[in-house]
Every structure is written in structure tokens, then in C-alpha cells.
Symmetry: C2
Subunit: 396 residues, 2 copies
């Protein structure tokens, strides 16, 4: 074994930022290994296991020897099933061959970004938003053009703000509904305005619907109801409870599909086969019944955490009607930034949350994301601990 010089990594690769929450997660694990009780409100993953009918379908697929490659765009019957799901649940007409099954929403993001964008292009994204957008864009030499959104806009992008932030190099605009980290929804009208703007400017509208189905006290929509020429990212991870299976999909305009299919052949070969067979059971009535019960649980948790945090003095001014996140503004009197706040809260009372810095710059130092991916009694316990922590903060 010879010693090695420093490898010459590409500057773009070196520039990829770590998720701040990873450091917290590691520290949390260390504390747990030392016997400390840690409550995890930082995790972007449902605590529920994959529903039993999906697991049963996976077992049956293994029994049947479904372990070989599928077509690059996925099992035809799964694409058909998704097409029916859009028709039945959203009244949207999305032909099966406009749907490409991908390795997670991550695969869909790579596919759509690489299909639409070239180095030097710009993409409008919300600040705050899901961190991977801007990291993956930068890896591709594309500049994410962040538009500050806050509680006044319900943390969503308006056509007016998008227009104000536009540049001649903007080739696409990405929004999410429900959004991460805020859990807010994008109204149909607001979406229609963004779509009209994109169409007028010759840009693509990309809508991330990975939290679709996890919507409370509001109707659930898809951007695919609106028009054919939107690119919709989705996944079996969140509503369907299949995070570890890494299965997502992309709905694209008909005219883009052939190119994307060729790209998928080269980038992925195909998505995971047992996962695709398992996902065929995701739309069965027995599965949907389980998922709807879970949705009711998530709503209860949201209500408990929202009320509790507001009572403790956190500002949650938007309407977090979806996903499983609350993006909470620290009480004004807290004299530290959100990174310091999250770090100390973990050390002192064993509650983990994600500092705003993972989602962008705008207001990041004043916000923390709490995920309600644990049971009501745990949320109550967490609120008690946060209360104690705030008392300690005040007394300093």
C-alpha cells in the first residue's frame, strides 16, 4: 500500500455542503450511547413502518423471483397504476408513459435537473427550501437563484416575487407543496400564476410533491391538474411510508419523456425491482386505509406540537397544513442563533431539531425545524423539555 497525495477533487464537489443536522445527529447518537434519552424531532422520515400490504407484496415478489432488471422507466404496471391514481384521486389526466419510476425522489431530481439545465443556467428556488436542490444544482454548474420567502407569503413563492427575482438566465423554477421545512401548501391560484409566468418566459415549472397526501384541514392537490407542461417530482417515501425502499417518480410532458428515458437508462439502468413490485400494493384499499389513519395521527401531532410551541413563545405564523414539519421562529428574547440554540437544546435537555441553516440563509438564524415524526406522548415530553430549556435560557 503506497501513501497517497491529496486527490484532485473537482471544486464543485468540494463545495457541496454537509447537512448541519448530520453533526447534531452524530452528537445525539453519542449522547444516546452514553445512556442519555434523546427525543428526535430532527428526522425527515415517518416513524411508521412500511404498511403490511406493501410488505406482503414485497415478500410475494421475492417468492416469484422478481429480482431482475425492469425497464429503465419502471414496471409498466406501476406506471399504469400511478396514472390511475392521478385520475381517481386528483382528477388529473396523466398518461402512464408520462410517468418515469426513479430511484427515490432523488433520482427524479437528478433526471429533471440534468434534462432541463446546462451550466450557466439559473433556477429560482425558495429560501428556505429542501437543501438538496441547491447542492445538486451547483454540482451541475447551475446557479440556484434564491428568493426569500417568509411567513407573510406562507413560505411559498408568489408570481410577483418570482418575477421580481427573474434574470435572463433563469430556465426553471422549483417549488414544493407541501413544502419542506415549512409544511405550507401552495394555493392553486398561486400555482397557476407561477405556471403562466414560466410559460410566458419559456421556463420550466418543477413542482416537488414528495409530501403529497400528507395534508391536513385542506384539500390535497397535484400540479398535474393544472397543465401537462409541468414537471412533478414525487416519491413513495413519505405518504406511502417507504423511505428505505428508495422509490420515486417523475411526471413529465409527453415530449420530454423519450429523452428522459434514455437518460434514465444511462444514469440508473432501472429502479429497484422488489420495491417496484411492493409499491404496486401502495394503492390497495387496505393500504390506503392504513395511510389515512396515519394521516389522522400526523394531524393530531401537528396540532399538539403547533399549540405547544406557540404557547412556549415560538412564532409559527404561516399555515403548516402539510408534510410533518413546523418551521418555528425562536422567541424574540432568545439571544443565540438557531444553530447554537439547537446544539445547546440537544446537550441540555436532549431534544434534537434542525437549525434553519440547512434550508438556506433567509431568516435561517432565527428558525428551527421541528418534525412531528414521533408519538403524541413523546411530543408532550419534548414540549416539557423545551419549556425547561427556555427557562434555563432566560435565567442566564
Amino acid at each position: 500500500m503506497q501513501s497517497t497525495e491529496q486527490p484532485r477533487l473537482a471544486p464543485r464537489a468540494r463545495a457541496v455542503e454537509p447537512f448541519h443536522v448530520m453533526r447534531l445527529l452524530e452528537r445525539a447518537k453519542t449522547l444516546e450511547a452514553e445512556g442519555r434519552s434523546i427525543i428526535h424531532l430532527e428526522v425527515g422520515e415517518p416513524d411508521f413502518p412500511t404498511p403490511e400490504p406493501i410488505l406482503a407484496a414485497a415478500r410475494a415478489a421475492l417468492e416469484d423471483g422478481a429480482v431482475h432488471y425492469t425497464p429503465a422507466a419502471g414496471l409498466p404496471q406501476l406506471r399504469e397504476r400511478l396514472s390511475r391514481y392521478y385520475a381517481e384521486r386528483y382528477g388529473a389526466s396523466v398518461e402512464a408513459d408520462r410517468i418515469l419510476i426513479t430511484p427515490g425522489a432523488s433520482g427524479a431530481i437528478q433526471l429533471v435537473f440534468q434534462a432541463l439545465l446546462e451550466p450557466g443556467d439559473e433556477v429560482l428556488i425558495c429560501d428556505p427550501s429542501y437543501p438538496c436542490y441547491r447542492q445538486v444544482l451547483r454540482l451541475l454548474g447551475v446557479e440556484p437563484r434564491a428568493v426569500a420567502v417568509d411567513a407573510d407569503d406562507d413560505f411559498q413563492l408568489s408570481a410577483a416575487r418570482a418575477e421580481a427575482a427573474w434574470s435572463p438566465r433563469v430556465r426553471a423554477l422549483i417549488v414544493a407543496s407541501p413544502a419542506n421545512p415549512s409544511g405550507t401548501l401552495l394555493g392553486r391560484e398561486q400555482l397557476a400564476e407561477l405556471h403562466a409566468l414560466c410559460r410566458a418566459r419559456g421556463a420550466a415549472l418543477i413542482v416537488d410533491e414528495i409530501y403529497q397526501g400528507l395534508v391536513y384541514d385542506a384539500p390535497d392537490h397535484s400540479a398535474l391538474e393544472l397543465a401537462e407542461d409541468v414537471y412533478v417530482i414525487n416519491s413513495f417515501s413519505k405518504y406511502f411510508g417507504m423511505t428505505g425502499w428508495r422509490l420515486g417518480w417523475l411526471a413529465a410532458p409527453q415530449a420530454a419523456v423519450e429523452v428522459m428515458e434514455r437518460m434514465a437508462q444511462n444514469l440508473f439502468i432501472a429502479p429497484n425491482t422488489p420495491a417496484q413490485h411492493a409499491a404496486l400494493a401502495a394503492f390497495a384499499p387496505a393500504t390506503l386505509e392504513i395511510l389515512e389513519r396515519r394521516r389522522a395521527c400526523f394531524r393530531e401531532r401537528r396540532d399538539a406540537l403547533l399549540d405547544g410551541l406557540r404557547r412556549l413563545g415560538f412564532g409559527i405564523d404561516g399555515e403548516p397544513k402539510g408534510a410533518f414539519y413546523l418551521y418555528a421562529r425562536l422567541p424574540d428574547w432568545v439571544g443565540v442563533d438557531s444553530m447554537q440554540f439547537a446544539t445547546t437544546m440537544l446537550e441540555e435537555v436532549g431534544v434534537a431539531a434542525t437549525p434553519g441553516h440547512d434550508f438556506g440563509c433567509h431568516g435561517a438564524e432565527r428558525h428551527v425545524r421541528f418534525a412531528y415524526t414521533c408519538d403524541l406522548p413523546v411530543i408532550d415530553e419534548a414540549l416539557g423539555r423545551i419549556d425547561r430549556f427556555l427557562v434555563q435560557c432566560r435565567s442566564r
Copy 2:
């Protein structure tokens, strides 16, 4: 639903070429649907199912609820197990934290290309070679600099040829052993020379070992025996019989791992969880026994197909000692190019093979790739049909 204009796809995306074999595969399916018997010698996938101990591990993982995200670089115990595998089987010291588990070798290719290369860079690749290299490179704005290799070089790149083809923009060199489409191996000495050349020029050496273990009449090696500063792509797909599970790995120099792990977080989140637990059983003695029996089968098939094709007048001058491919030069008197040959052979005698055009330009029109991914009696039947086809060709 509104009608849509032609979407503005990125020129690079539009430039991704389809695999020619896909058109043949589609035609083969149509013929099969019409009741025709088709022999598939075009498929780059073992016909064997995933070994039972791996399936059993997958079932147990589902039973245990292993359906949540793993760390981005994969299950620590799988990385440890691979590290031991390198030590035990290849006498190579590869620390577990130098191994990143990826969504197939495809994920490893994306990770290593994006980590090392920027637009405008060049990469030396063999012509012929695995088509995805050049497609993925071009998507990233990197120019694949093809070096013609042929039977005289055993279809492998020599340091002399690499040096002759070098340009100031070359930042990496990718070779494969065993290689696709030729099935030839890269000698240790030849590899050491390429490594020395890369080191002297400050370029990275990337070695694709996806067919590792599928080696006949020759010792099985890993480039990781040689040095720490090579990037090795591998997969559970071929030797381990797990194609549809989409699980691979990348071994990288220690100093590159942290950046790559951050990239993996953003590009993939994590590899498929059940597949990772299943793969833990890939190294069990019971599994390896099955795999070694299969290897013996592949060797018998290779011998039968190699002898048969040579008897029919195909030129196979290299030493195809690995993978499950033969890259056969059409008999000189055949008056059509390999694309036409493959198309007509499929139509007339129902044998599917891959035209050389999928692997590059050099000699592509004179070569066809045959995969021995079917049983001996089927290979015999295929040889009989090809014989009949050649007789028909002669009589025209």
C-alpha cells in the same frame, strides 16, 4: 389540459444516445408476442436468480422492519463486510470507511465522475467499452477521449496507448477488468503501468470491477491490491446475482471519502435498505458455494460459445477470460455491417445479439457482442441457428 409547446431540453440531454440493443429488444418482444422463439444472447444480466441465502436475508430484514433510511454511505456492517472480503479474497487492505455503498454501480459511476470532473475536463476511455461511461460523462460536460483498443491489445488499454492519446485536459482514465464487451482482463503489470502514468500526470485511475469474480482460467484480482489512490467501481449485480436490487459500491482514497459522502447525501439520500441487509448474506459460505458453481457454469458456457462461434468463422482473438460476453468479429465474407447483421439474424433465425455500435466506433461495424447468459442447450440451439443464418447469408 392545455396543449404544450416543445419543452426546452438541455442540448446535452438531447445528445444522450439510445442503446441500439433496446430497439432489437423491442423487436424481439414483438416477435415473441407473435409466437416466435427468440434466443436472447444480447442481455447483460445473469439468468440465475438471486441466491437463496441472500433472499432469506432480505425476508428476515423485512420481518425485522429494516425499511427506514440508512446512512448515505450505507450500512456500517456492510462496509465492514466488504472490507473483510477484500482482505480475505484479494489480500487487499481497504478500510471500511473507504467503501461507499451506492445505488448500483450506476450510482458509483455518478459519484466518482461528479467528484473528480468538471466541464471541459477529458477522460480517457477504451473504444469499445460500456456505453454509459461516455453518455454520463457528456451529460456532465466532460469529453470522453476514446482510445481504440482491439484484439491485439486484448481489448485493454496499455500505458503506451494511453500516453499517446493523452491531452493536457485529461483528468482521469477509466478501464474495466473484466471488460464489457470483450470479457478480457487487464493484467496486473499493465494496470501498474497505467497507475504509474496516472500518478505521474496527476490524473485519477478509475477501475470498473463490476464483473469481478466472474473470471475463468485466470487469477481474480482487484486494482485495490495495487494502491490506495485508485477509484474502484463494483456491484452486487453480476457475480452476486443481484441485478434488480440496484446495489453497488465505490472504493475511494481516504482523503476523497468525506466529500463523496456529502455528495451521496445530496444525490441519493441512501441506497435501498432491504437490499443492503440482503447483501450482508452475499459473503456467507453457502452463498459463495452457489456463486462458485455458477461461475463453473459460466465457464462451460463460455467454452461452448467460444468454440462454436470460432467454428462458424467468427473472429475472437482476444482472451475472453471473464464477465459473460464474447466480442465476435463477423466472418470477413459477411457483406453487411454488424447492425444490419444483428437485425437480420433476429428476424430470420430468432437470435438476438448486441451490435458493436453500442460500445463505440472502433471496429463497431464488424463486431457483435454475444452474452452467455443462458443454458448450454440454448447456446447449442443458438449456434445451430446462427449456422443456418450464415448459410442463408452466403447463398445471397
